[in-house]
């Protein structure tokens, strides 16, 4: 009953509607980013220099690509911790085969392996009914181990002269990796918001039983999201190895948690069913800008770690608070 009354208030229209507490909370992450840009500019005037902007974005590309797919998984009510391992696998396989199979062949191999990893995740989660957290923790260990076994724990340095194209070459003046990042975001946003597949992911994350009773093939939809994260992780791994000129089995690092953090900072709910790709874009920009400004101020990376942790917790707490007051 009181929710009914609130709905009235919410659709009240008029000027105050756009400046209500709801709006402030719902788009809080945008205001936070704007504030960060202003403070960042004061602290580091070169923030908006073209060179610096390109630097920020190309560094953020691998993480951003993975984060888009992670948005899909999280909205479907899941979680994927195995992306760091698949990322590393992608890097070593791409670097390891760049000489033998050529760039396209190596990329095809990475795509194939990523899809297989994603299908395995999807199968374990939907058919064996293992909780996504546990399932991808387990497969992450398997895939990660696979990356070390494949590379014999040695850095893969290809002789192929063109290996660096993906990570360093430019197109229309901007690095290719930025174009790829942009494309993944645009396609991701479109698919999630404007296709039956995207809508089904929201439904699944919001209420699995209702989705099932609506005739949505929940297992197929849920499983496919893990294939997407795997493919994006493989792609991210290729870009990073190309930029560094080497593929190493420990390249994944904290990628899984970073990607989840980016999604969550943007305001996509970890509970599933709510969120958007544009939110992930803002989350990525916040983290990338912060890193850039901190680096320019020569702030210790350990301190950066602490600050980022605080931001993640603050973002989730804000999301939960917004939910409470809107209810």
């Amino acid at each position: 009953m009181q929710t009914e009354a609130q709905a009235h208030a919410g659709t009240g229209g008029g000027f105050s509607r756009y400046f209500s507490r709801d709006m402030l909370l719902q788009y809080g992450v945008v205001w936070a980013f704007a504030l960060l840009l202003i403070l960042g500019f004061i602290a580091y005037p070169r923030l908006f220099a073209l060179q610096n902007l390109q630097n920020i974005l190309s560094q953020a590309a691998p993480l951003g690509i993975v984060a888009v797919a992670m948005t899909f998984v999280i909205i479907s009510g899941g979680f994927d911790l195995s992306v760091a391992a698949i990322f590393a696998l992608g890097a070593v396989v791409f670097a390891g085969h760049a000489d033998g199979l050529g760039l396209w062949g190596a990329a095809g191999a990475v795509l194939l392996i990523s899809v297989i990893c994603g299908v395995i995740n999807g199968f374990i989660i939907t058919k064996m009914k293992v909780n996504p957290f546990v399932a991808t923790l387990g497969t992450g260990s398997i895939f990660g181990g696979g990356a070390f076994l494949y590379s014999n724990s040695a850095p893969q340095v290809p002789d192929n002269f063109d290996f660096g194209i993906l990570g360093t070459e430019r197109f229309l003046g901007w690095p290719i990796s930025i174009w790829i990042l942009l494309a993944v975001f645009v396609i991701g946003a479109f698919v999630l918001a404007r296709t039956v597949y995207g809508r089904s992911l929201y439904a699944l994350g919001g209420n699995e039983e209702a989705a099932r009773l609506s005739g949505i093939s929940v297992d197929l939809i849920r499983g496919s999201a893990y294939v997407l994260t795997a493919v994006c992780a493989g792609l991210g791994g290729m870009i990073l190895s190309s930029r560094l000129g080497v593929g190493q089995a420990d390249m994944g690092g904290s990628l899984a948690l970073d990607a989840i953090a980016v999604v969550v900072i943007g305001g996509t709910s970890l509970l599933g069913g709510e969120g958007a790709v544009w939110r992930t874009a803002i989350g990525l920009l916040i983290i990338a800008t912060l890193t850039n400004v901190f680096d320019s101020l020569a702030i210790n990376t350990n301190v950066q770690q602490v600050v980022k942790g605080v931001i993640v917790i603050f973002a989730v707490a804000l999301d939960l608070y917004a939910r409470r007051v809107r209810r």
Binding site: M1, A5, Q6, Y202, G206, N207, S214
Partner: protein, 521 residues
Amino acid sequence: MTQAEARISPPRAGAAEALPAFAARGITKRYGGTLALDHIDLTLAAGQIHALVGENGAGKSTFLGALAGRVVPSEGEITVFGQPHVFGNPREARRLGIGTIYQELTIIPRLSAVANVFLGQPLSRAAILSEAAMRREFHDLCLRFDVSIRPDAIAGTLSTADQQMLEIMRGVRSGAELLLFDEPTTSLAPPEREGLFRVMRQLREQGKTMVLVSHNLEEVLALADTITVFRDGKLARSAPRADWTKATMVHAMVGHEVEEYRRVARAARPAGAAPLLTVKGVTLPGACEDISFSLQPGEILGIGGLVGSGRSSLLRALAGVEPKSRGEMIIEGHGTPWPARPRQSMRAGLALVPEDRKAQGLVLSMRAMDNIVMSNMGRVMRAGILSDSTIASASRQIAREFGYAEHRIGTIVRHLSGGNQQKVLLGKARFSDPKILMVDEPTRGIDIGAKDEIMSTLRALADQGMGIIVVSSDLEEVIQISDRILVMSHGRLVDEIDQSKGPATVSDILNSAFGVDKNAN
């Protein structure tokens, strides 16, 4: 409204009784610009059962929420047994002697029945839980309510009705002096309702005070000492039971006269038409056994029976939600493979409106229009793309049909009232354009206005040639809407009542369900 305490004095006299159970002064609650409660003054005597009635959105649940300590009023104060109420703090409310039984279950599914009843207030000696004592008390409670629930049963595996009983037992045993019941009977079958009413009367004998929010006016008249009607956030009238009739209550609720339980008009159907749906030998181990029936186009078939008789399982089996079910299905003369998945059933032309709209029916985080089109998104897709404008215009059409306010088509479903949520849910099933619509509990927990609208929409759909199957715990509703009634008991079909020769009565259905009369041998 002090007239409430004036007339009916509790059976016992004493100093404690002189103190009202609670006295509310000027209670006002604003949500944004909307007044949910508008300066409510209400004093209620101790030792009575008080009913709060009103349409959805009238303010009764918000008022109950303020009493329970869940809602913080914008203005006003409440004293409980003479002590000032600290709002927004359920724990403080409990200290004041207030116990609340919520409509939404707060059962923890993985704990046992006993553990749920003693949740938060376990019996212990020297910090060690005394299982035996809790089991003994649980057993006593079951006897009092006349229900049999296995103490070790995992709560999540129990029926909704049994879970509701656990919830009620928890509230009753907490020793609260003022018990608040928020629509406690919506998922209970008649015998269980009786059990609850008996216990409420016992509690009244023991001098406890109870406040009951209910949509069921018969139940209110049978039980309450004082009845208070809310309308549009204001207190319409508060008076002793003797001063009320069902008609005066309805009048006070809606502010104008409403026909009482009018039978929904039905159009003549073509005689001898081929059946739309025939099912044979539907069996779901543990729920339904060997059920056969057929449904004519334009017919509304009601299924009566008690909770747990297999009514809902039958619908779920037809909807392809129960993969273990089997049977034969013939649609418009063509044999159809038995549906093993919801999608298959929907392709065959069936649609299910599940009983629990929040858990099974709606995605609460999505907008009304997204929920409506969910059952057939392909229909609003243009070149692989979904656009909000196509979704809105398609779902507006459905909304109109069910009397759902069109300007709320973009509202997040979580923010809608029960009646509006139910309309969205029905609209969603309708959107898949079924030949056969199966509705489980079409009007649970919604107000009279919405109920009326839903009933006449179902009739209108039938008149367009759709076949409709309705399951409801509210047997009057089944009688009111159905052309024909099937009665189920213990998973079997035990009777069929044709209403074309005159309406059945609730006791006809119950007699069949209990095996009294013609089916006893």
